[in-house]
Each structure stands twice: as C-alpha cells, then as structure tokens.
Amino acid sequence: MTATTSRPRVAGAGRPGGQRTGSSYRRRRQALIAWAFALPFVALFGVFMLVPLISSFAMSFTDFTSRDVQNPLSVGFVGLEQYSRLFANPQFLRSMLNTGYFVVVGIPLTMAVALGLAVALNSGIKRFRTVFRVGFYTPVVTSIVAIAVVWRFILQPDGLMNTFLGAVGIQGPDWLNSTTWAMPAMILMAVWRNMGTLMIIFLAGLQNVSAEMLEAAEVDGANAWQRFTRITLPTLRPTLLLGAVLLSVGYLQFFEEPFVMTKGGPLDSTLSISFFTFNQFGFGQYGLASAASYVLFVAIALLSLFQFRALRSKD
C-alpha cells in the first residue's frame, strides 16, 4: 500500500537536445509541465482515495481482520465467501431493508417539501425572500452532532414534539425507543436537514419556466393546478431528476442520524447499510465490512446510472 503512481518525473532543467524536433519536443515538455502541476493532487488523491478504494475491493475477497494489520501476509484469499456470508446475515438484510425504507419514503417526501417551498418562494412574493431562504437553509449548514443533541431532547416521550401533538389531541409515541416510530423520526430529521439544498436547486430550475407560456395558458383558461402540472413540472423535469440523484446518493449512505440518535436501535430498526459496515469495522471484521461497503457502492452507482439514463432519454 505504498506506491501511488509512477508519473513522469519533472526533469525540466535539461536543455533541449536541439530545436529541430520542434513540436514534438514542445508537446513532451507541455506534458511534463502538466503532470508537474497535477502531481501534488495526484499524490494525495492516489494515496488517500485510490489506494483505499482498491484495497477495500481486494480486502472484500479475503478474511482480513483487525489482527492482521500487523502481519498482512497471514491473510487468506476466500473468494466470494464474505459476500455469501453477508447475504446470509439477517442483520445485513435488515439493514438493506431499513435503507430501502429510508430512501423510498425519504426522497419523495424531501422533494415534495422542497418543491413546495421553492414554488412558494417563486410565486411573486417580494418581501422577506432572503429571510425565508436563509431560514429554510439553516439546518443544512449545522453540525449533525449538535442537531442530534437537541432533537433527542425534542423527541423525548414528554418533550416538545409530543407537547405540540398533545395540544392538538394526539398522544405522541416514545419516538426513539419505538421500533415503529424511530425510522419515521429519522426521516423527519432528514427532510428537515436536506430540504434547504433541494429548495435552492429547484428555485434555480424554476427560473427556466417561461412566464409567457404561463400567461398564455392562463389566458386560455388553465387554472393554477393545470399550469403547474402541464408547464412548470415538465420544464422542471431535468432539475427534479438531478435532485433525485443527489438525494439518493446521499440517502443511500444514511448513517449519521441513527449513529448519533439511536445507535441503530431499537432492535436494529434504524440500522442502515453504512452503519452495519461501520459496526463490522468496529468488530475488526475488515473483510466483511469491505464487502458490505462495495455492495453499497454498486447500489449507488447503479441507481445513479439508472437515473441519468432516465434524465437523458427525453432531452
């Protein structure tokens, strides 16, 4: 795990052997200069990104554990065994199910809320636009750890959330200790924390909706809902898909909320794939952890590819 790249050395100083070779000499010189510019990045990126990426892939086919760190030669090649262990592990299957739940419910919900906010902010209101935008975006910039402290407090059985619910006659659950309600609470937090980013992206997309077309439709007697579904939404389609891709890459990696709020509990009901992987790392099961992380990587790549295809098809 040492070598990074064997890039051409910058021997720069050597004088040209003769000006005759003209353009080919200049091209070689340019290539050297270019790689010299790229060198610091390539070195850091190679060591801290590419090498781990490849070792992780290699590790997923071995029985590497934390004990082998000092003596990597004792590691054995086990083929696909880690992957078959993984798919036979009920906890991993549970984590896939949980991640699916989070993604399938969380993405449409976040997108709907963000779209609603963007449309409202774009509906011709003039005052306090900046205040609203800053307000809705604030959760995005704050640390998940700080957020977790206050949300854990808010979600207590007799906390702020249930006090509000009680005021409208609803008996709130013990959110974080209920196998039914812990995940909805995670989704609620994720919507709150991510709607700002999508709102900004959708707001930018809404600037492409033609005002003339909307006006013409109104003259022709289309009501607000018809104008929204027939003109605004189709124009926004690429932006919506982009939002979906960004969200799914993020939501599939769902980790921090359960890590700081529930530790994956109760009874694994908020354990995500990333969290499962992290736990295996903690147990020293490096081979299994790597296999699980690659399953996640493939899922993300496939979903993004699928969404990009959908995005391209009608453009």
Binding site: A34, F48, M49, Y137, V145, L160, L203, Y286
Partner: protein, 302 residues
Amino acid sequence: MTSPTETLTPASPRAETDTPGVRPRPGKRRRRIRPQTLTYVLLVLGVVATLLPFAWMLLGSFKTQGELLRRPITWWPEDPTLENYSQWFTSLHIDTFFFNSLLVAVVTVLGNLLFCSMVGYVLAKMDFPGKKFLFLIVMVTLMVPGVVTFVPLFVMVSKLGLVNTYPALFLPFLAGPLGVFLMRQFMTGIPDSIIEAARIDGASELRIFTRVVMPLCGPPLATLGILTFLTSWNNFLWPLVAAQSQDKYTLPVALSLFSTGQDATNYGLLLAGSVLVITPIILLFIMLQRYFIQSVAATGIK
C-alpha cells in the same frame, strides 16, 4: 447525511440570484392578493417550525438542570444561568476543540484551493497524455460512499503511525474530487485567447497560472472554500476515529463523546455545547449567505 457537496452534473459557476419570479399579472386585484397572503402565512409557519429546534436549543442552554427535567416543559428560562457555558470554558477545554476544528478546516480549505486549481488548470487548458483518464477517475470517485475507503484508510493511517495526530485529521481531505470538478468547469470557460497571448509573450505556465488564470477564479474559489470549510467543520466520523485523546478532538467529536459519556444526561451542558458548535458556522452562513446559496446552485445545477 448528505452535505451540499455531492455533485454530479457539469456546472457553470452561474449564480442563483434574486431573479423576479413569475410576474404578477395585471388587474384582478382580489384574486392576486388573497393567495399571496396565504403564501406568506404558510411560509412564516414553515420557517418558524424549521427554526424552532434552534430556538429551543438556545433557550434551553440557559436553563438549569432542574428546569430542563421539569414537566410540563417550559419555554423561557425561569432562572437564566450561564453555568452551562462557563463549564465549557473552564473545565472542558472548549478552546482546544475550537482551535483543532479551525486548524483542520483552514488547512483543508487551503489545500483544496491550491491543489484542485492546479489540476483544474491543466485539465481545462493543457493537452497531455492521460488527461481524459485522470478526469474520468476523479469523476467516478465523486460517487464513492465514505464507508468504502474508511477501513483501508484507517489501516493505512495507523500503519503510518499517524493516529491521533493533526495530519491524520486533514491529510485525507486535502485534495478532493469536487474541487477539481468545480475548478476545471470554471476554467474551461476562460477564453483560450488570453492564455495563448500570454504564452506568445513568453510567460511560463506557472506565471500564466498565477498571474492570468487565478485572478479570474474568484467565484469558484469562494464556492470551493465555503463548501470545504463547511464539510470540514461538521465532519464527524473520521475525526471520531482518528482523534483519540482530548487534545486532538474537534468540536463535533468532543460534543458527541460528552453526549454519550458520563455527561449524557447533563442536558443544559449539552445544549450549550451545541450552541457553541453551530454558532460560528451560522454566523459565517448569515454573513456569506449569498455565496453559500450560489455555491449550492453552482454545484447542483447546469
């Protein structure tokens, strides 16, 4: 969870600005005013609900433990106290955590600004073998989930004997793919004629880069700087593993360890800690909100 840094489509650093929305239609006064009032009411309710957890955090940080545990819950602190804050400043070394967070964030930002612009420049404006491959690799890694590199990264850092050092905290983040993407995208838009003119005048590539190209790159540098600072300041998982003694903790690490350790039920202390962690970034956000929002629009949109 996702930060605004994941990007997938090419972006031009165009700003999302206060473009006027759909023009209000002339006439029909009654129909125009009523929906607008409704929009305002909904937006105000929404913003209040969104910011409520922060208000709750701030108010709670001035309450005593007794009041925080009392039911039914109270809104305003009945007996405001600064005890929760003074504990952070006297016995819990928040100044060390703050310094560590700041140091790591600043080094990470500087590294990304420098290294990513250099690669961005050659990818945008020079021809060399391996260029397409380099760009492809960088783009693919934008999609790699953090957990994939986590294990080998930790193994490597421990083999290098760097666990619990500052370099362990910032080295893995000094050169990220996002920055390369951003800088290359912007630099591609700089006219070739400017650079050709400088080359004909005999300027070296280094000189062109530092004197011609970089001075034009204010907007993407600002975007990259903000995004990198934000990500680093809030980064949590890696420092939690890489920093193992109190003198190397960053703010989120310290807060998370206190919130699960023996102070787990000292709510006032934890709320005050949360306020201290998010205040710098919120102040920065409010001061630079225009650029923050530009940066999201720039990285997220074509």
